[in-house]
Structure formats: structure tokens, C-alpha cells
Amino acid sequence: MIESLRCLPGVGPKSAQRMAYHLLQRDRRGAERLGQAITEALQHLRHCTQCNNFTEAEVCERCLSARRDHSLLCIVEMPIDLNSMEQTHAFSGLYYVLMGRLSPLDGIGPKELAFERLIQRATDGEVKEVILATNFTNEGEATAHYLSETLHARGLKVSRIARGLPVGGELEYTDAATVAQALLERRDYQ
């Protein structure tokens, strides 16, 4: 059991031991619930046919929600990125989670990421604008570039989230790369 717990991120041998003793000695009910929850999640969890995020239903709640703007589709790399976008409360459209990014040296290309599925989703007629919110790494940029080309060619409006200094950011404390890119991508100011 200690060995199994160590598969969790950030859990070393000591904390795994502590968790195991806690579950077995102090909280056996909790241990039972945890075991059941994991088994159920593994059995029922699948990818939403609309957004590709993990869900237990065929289509997740967010994708079914009438309160969301179904003409906006925001593409992110991972579920955690979707959570970051949601925390902004600034986006009311829908998402598509790629579950990765292009990584040519690791052999991750459009087939491995199932671009075909995403293209189908984005061209279902309801989506009018696609917002590319992949990371500002080389891999995220490559992903955004090719998705932009292929979705643009299919008549969709495509935009990319902007990069620059953090809110409340001071030049003095911002890394050189960010400042350099912010300078390069400067815009008219009135």
C-alpha cells in the first residue's frame, strides 16, 4: 500500500507511510470510501465526446449547459489549464482539451493528439470562434500555429490569448524573456 501511494505526485516514502498508517489505523471508513471512489472513477471515467475532458457521462455538464456560449471554443492543453481559465470567470464559452501538445522530438504529432476529432468538433456549425489557449512554450506555440492554420482554412475565426507582463507586474522583477517578447508584441496605445 505504501508503494501504491507513492505513485501520487509529491508523495515520497515518508509521507506514503504516514498516509497508509492514518488510513488503516485512524480512518478505516475513509479508507473504504477512498478505495471505492478510485475504483468507480476508473470504471466510469471517460472523455466527453464534446470537449475531450474527463467525465462520467457521454457529454459533460459544462458542454450541455445552456448558460455557456456555444459559439466560442477555447482550446487548452490539459484539464488543469481549463481550471485556470475557469478561475478567471472571464470566459463563458466552451472548451476543448487536447490532453497534450505537439512535441516532435517525442513523436507526438497530430495523429497522437487526435487533431481530426478536434477539427470535427470545431466545424460542427455551432462554433464561430476558436480561442487558442495553449501554453507559450515552443510546443504550445507549434500546436497553436498549426491548429490556427487548419481551423482558419475551414472558415473559423481564430484568436490566440495574448502574452505579456503579469497584472501588477513590474519590469524590474519580470524575466528578460517575457519583457523581450512583450516589447516585440507591443501594440498601439492611446
Partner: protein, 241 residues
């Protein structure tokens, strides 16, 4: 420990992969120490100053210490001056990196190749004509690896290659003048002029650009020993979207 401390090295990150929960192993190409892996401790922590800086295609000044196969990264500074690669140029950058990762042995200094790589990336970053830089890099790579690439001397006769003659390129040997037409049907056309242009580093002729690309692809495939280039496959698949 502390067997060696190296500072102020101009480097490029070729590739990286996560190591433990918070660290990163980067495959680095340095000007004076060649290619080597470095452990970037804590580089994946949310507030790490190195997070985001250790990216490919950007000149960095790195310092490291330690013995053993994997040294520890001690210092990283952004040198800047190179716009980020994008689109097709970014994919070509991955192609260069994959060639280095697959063909360049570790800890062999190749300063001339480093400079050619730097120049090729600069050209890609400007988004301009890239064929000469790519060919220059490929030729430099094979020469630095000791494959003694001879372009403008006939491997059979020892005579200089002639502009108007046709040649076949024999692997491990060099160009051999074709006698008669089509004695090697599989061979792509290779003019003497292309070989002379390549030796003179002149890629202004479109046919030289095409034939040199085909020749270098064949030579690299040979030295890769059948290992497929992932970057090329991914690039091709992306073009078909």
C-alpha cells in the same frame, strides 16, 4: 562531487524531460563542452526563476558542476537577441535538434558545428531563406562527426568534379561520374554543378537547392542507421491537415 565547475557557457537546450516532481533534465548543446545532460533542480517549481527560461532555440548562458554522467545546472541566464521561432521555422528547428540528439555523441566539443547551428537558428528566427543554413548545418554535422564528406572530388578518378557531368554519390566514398545514361536507375539526378556549388557554399541555383536537399537527406538517413526522424514525420503529417 565538484569534480568540475563550468561557468559562462553559451548553450542551447535541445530537448528536455521531467525528472521527479519538480525537476527537469535538459539535453544541452554547449559551445565548448559539446552535448551533455544537465539536471535542473526545482526548475518545474511554480516560482522557479528557471521555469520558462530553459527553452529550446534560445541562446542561454549556463553554468554547472559535478562529476558523473548528469551534471547539475547551477546558473542560467537568458542571452536573448533571438526572436522566438514560429510555424514552419519552429518545425525546422526541431529537425535540427533531433539530428543533434540522435547523431552527436555526448561530451565531444564541436565549436564550429555550434556556430553553424547558431547561425541556422538565427536564420530561422528571422523567418527568411533557410535552405543554405540547413544544408550548411547538415554538412557541418557530418564533417564534424568525422564522416569526411567529400563533395568536389571524383572518388574513382581523384579528379575534380566537372560542372557539366552527372554523378552518382556512393555512400561512404563520394561522388563518382556516371558513364553513359541511367546505369543507376534508382539514383536521383546529381549534377557536377550541384556538388561544386555545395563545396563552394553557393545555394543561389534552385536546382542546387533541390539536389543538395535530396543528397543530404540520403546521407543523413544512412548515418541515422534506419532510425526514423520523428520531427520530419510530424512535420509531414501537419502539412496534410
Amino acid at each position: 562531487m565538484g569534480r568540475q565547475r563550468v561557468d559562462g557557457q553559451t548553450c542551447f537546450v535541445l530537448h528536455h524531460h521531467p525528472y521527479s516532481e519538480t525537476s527537469l533534465i535538459i539535453d544541452v548543446f554547449s559551445r565548448d563542452h559539446g552535448r551533455l545532460p544537465l539536471l535542473a533542480r526545482g526548475a518545474r517549481r511554480p516560482r522557479s526563476a528557471m521555469r520558462g527560461m530553459l527553452m529550446a532555440f534560445q541562446p542561454l548562458e549556463l553554468g554547472w558542476f559535478g562529476g558523473g554522467e548528469v551534471r547539475t545546472l547551477a546558473k542560467a541566464e537568458w542571452l536573448g537577441g533571438m526572436p522566438l521561432l514560429s510555424g514552419r521555422c519552429l518545425m525546422l528547428g526541431y529537425y535540427l535538434n533531433e539530428l543533434l540528439v540522435k547523431l552527436l555523441p555526448r561530451e565531444d566539443a564541436h565549436a564550429a558545428l555550434f556556430d553553424t547551428y547558431f547561425a541556422a537558428l538565427s536564420a530561422l528566427a528571422q523567418g527568411g531563406a533557410d535552405a543554405p543554413e540547413l544544408r550548411r548545418f547538415e554538412i557541418s554535422l557530418l564533417r564534424e562527426l568525422g564522416y569526411g564528406l567529400t563533395l568536389d572530388v571524383d572518388a574513382d578518378s581523384g579528379e575534380p568534379v566537372q560542372t557539366s557531368a552527372d554523378y552518382a554519390f556512393v555512400l561512404e566514398r563520394g561522388p563518382v561520374q556516371k558513364v553513359g545514361a541511367g546505369d543507376t536507375a534508382l539514383e536521383q539526378g546529381l549534377r557536377g554543378k550541384t556538388l561544386i556549388d555545395m563545396a563552394a557554399d553557393d545555394y543561389s541555383d534552385p536546382r542546387t537547392r533541390l539536389e543538395s536537399k535530396i543528397l543530404m537527406r540520403r546521407l543523413l538517413a544512412h548515418h541515422l542507421g534506419g532510425q526514423p526522424l520523428q520531427a520530419r514525420r510530424v512535420f509531414m503529417e501537419l502539412q496534410e491537415l
